[in-house]
Every structure is written in C-alpha cells, then in structure tokens.
C-alpha cells in the first residue's frame, strides 16, 4: 500500500470529525460551553490540515482557534455576565 493510499482513511476520518464538529458548535446553546466546543472543533480542523499536508495553515489555525478567539469570547462572556449580575442586584 502506498503512502497516499494509507492517508485516505485518515483523511476520511478527519473530514468526518470536522463535519460532526461544526453542527455541534452551532447546537451548543450556552456561550461558555460553545467557546470550549469551538476550541475542540478548531483542533479537529488542525488535524485535517495536518493530514492534508498543510502544516503552516494548521499552525495558524491552532494559534487563532486555541489562543486568540477563545480569549476574546471568554472576556466578552465575563463582561456580559457581570452586567447581568449587577442588574439582578439592582432589581
């Protein structure tokens, strides 16, 4: 079996994981959990890029989906929740 042939099942599994992960992100309702699920989905995309022999986009994806994006989302969630709590205290 050639190297290309051994890669086909790996590619199929990676594509399947990405296809499963995307709806999971959308269907998660709680924003905090959604941020975490989105991080896991990002890792599945990283695996897909590696399997497709594109290590540079994989590293960019890892940096953006693992570090940059979750931090911004978590900060925004913390801000909104604090405002809600303050409103509850006032009422």
């Amino acid at each position: 079996m050639t190297l290309a042939a051994t890669l086909v099942p790996l590619q199929a599994v990676s594509f399947a994981l990405v296809a499963l992960g995307a709806p999971l992100v959308v269907l998660t309702r709680d924003p905090l959990r959604q941020a975490l699920v989105n991080g896991v989905y990002g890792v599945s995309l990283v695996c897909l890029f590696v399997v497709l022999q594109a290590p540079d986009p994989a590293l960019s994806m890892l940096a953006v989906s693992g570090i940059g994006y979750p931090l911004v989302i978590l900060a925004a969630i913390a801000r909104v929740r604090a405002r809600d709590r303050r409103k509850e205290d006032d009422s």
Partner: protein
C-alpha cells in the same frame, strides 16, 4: 414580519443559494487534483533561488512580501482600533490590585511549567519559520499565549511587566516599521521595494533566505506585541473590574 412572510422570503433565497453552491461544487477539480500553475512554479523556484526549505515562508516574506506587509498592518490597525476604544488614560494603570491567587498548587505548578514550554515552542516557531513549518505570526501568537498563562497561573504582579504599554507600544512600532524599513532599504539601494538584499546562505540552516530572516523577526516582534497589547487592553477593561467587584463582595 410574520413567520409566514419570513419563510416566503427565506425559501427562494435558500433554494437559489443551494443551486449556486451545488453548481460551484460540481465545477471543482477532483479532490487532490491541484491544477493551478502557481504552486508548482513556487515549489521549483523558491528553494534554489532563496535557499529557504519552507516554501510557504519563502513565498510570504519574499515572492509576495508586499501582501504580508499589508496583512501585518491589518493586525496593527486592529490593535490600534481596540486600544483607542478601550484604553482609559484617566484610569490609574499601575495601581497594585490584590486579587485571589489560584489556590490549587498543582494547577499553578503545571501552569508555570507551561509558560516556559510554550515560550520555547513560540521562539522555535519564530526562529525556524523559514526552515520548518512555522513563522513569525504563529510563533508570536504562541509566545504571547504562553506569557498570558503567567497571568492565569500567577498574579497581576507577575504579569505586569508584560502589559506595560510604554514598552509594548514602541516595540510594536519597531516590528511593523522594521518590515517597511527593509523594503525601503531595497529601494534606496536601487532595486525594487522588498527585493532580497542579503546573501542567500546555506540551504536548510538559520543563515538562509537573506532578507527573509529580518522580515520574519520583524513580523514576530510585531505580532507578539500586538497580541500582548490586546490581552492587556482586554484584561484591563473586561476582567479586572469583575475581580475587584468579587473581591469586595
């Protein structure tokens, strides 16, 4: 607008989009059959001409270096925008805030250990970006993320040197401006903007690629400082008011 009207608008739109999408997918080349000449040309030319074994970086910082300069300034503009919106000069920036440290020693130890490891990975990605996969952008984000772990596992005081705008602002400028300076140096020497000025060195070593090395480090400095500035502004605006509030409660 009632639900019925919405569905009437949505239906044809979805159908049209679906038809166009199916048409586009049907016209794609078969999976794994790359047709464009650009990639083949670069794969043949970059290693012999530039001596960088990572063709992607040879392309980013040399063949289409002007595009990368634009991208670097997109990030620069984004950070300037966030800073202008969030930075509050009247707020005493250097007030020592007492917040709770993480209680769990094991988590703290693991976190601090990851600061060193992450920083090392980031520096490796930056330094060897044009030899193996990596580069200034990815390495910069990883290094900045590793430093942020210091905040999460340690305290405000441990992290405070890495959020000092008096240090980060000029460094960010040096990174972004350094890229342009290399381009202008080529202009001054009588060739085109961003022409590779230096010797190409030995293929597959850190001394390869000529100008690519300097451009890569300029991008690395710019991206690291940009991310640290973003973190600093977000922490200042979003997280700290929360923590003081909780501490008082």
């Amino acid at each position: 607008m009632s639900r019925r009207v919405r569905m009437l608008v949505l239906g044809p739109g979805l159908l049209g989009l679906g038809a166009l999408f199916a048409w586009a997918i049907a016209g794609l080349p078969a999976f794994g059959h790359y047709r464009g000449p650009y990639g083949y040309v670069l794969n043949r030319l970059v290693v012999p001409l530039r001596h960088t074994t990572n063709v992607v970086m040879g392309t980013n910082f040399d063949v289409r270096g002007v595009d990368t300069m634009g991208e670097e300034f997109i990030l620069y503009a984004a950070v300037v925008g966030v800073t202008l919106l969030l930075r509050d000069e009247s707020n005493a920036r250097h007030v020592e805030r007492h917040t709770r440290r993480l209680r769990n020693e094991t988590v703290r130890l693991a976190g601090v250990a990851m600061v060193g490891g992450g920083l090392l990975v980031g520096l490796w990605l930056m330094a060897f970006g044009y030899i193996t996969p990596g580069g200034g952008f990815q390495g910069g984000v990883v290094a900045a993320g590793a430093v942020l772990l210091l905040y999460l596992a340690g305290s405000h005081r441990d992290y405070s040197p890495f959020r000092d705008a008096h240090v980060l602002d000029p460094l960010e400028g040096v990174g972004a401006g350094g890229y342009v300076v290399v381009g202008l140096a080529a202009l001054a020497s009588g060739s085109a903007f961003l022409t590779n000025l230096f010797g190409r060195g030995t293929t597959g070593t850190l001394l390869s690629g000529g100008s690519i090395v300097i451009l890569n480090w300029a991008a690395a400095i710019a991206v690291t400082c940009a991310m640290l500035l973003l973190f600093a502004e977000f922490l200042e605006t979003y997280v700290e008011p929360l923590e003081t509030e909780e501490a008082g409660a």
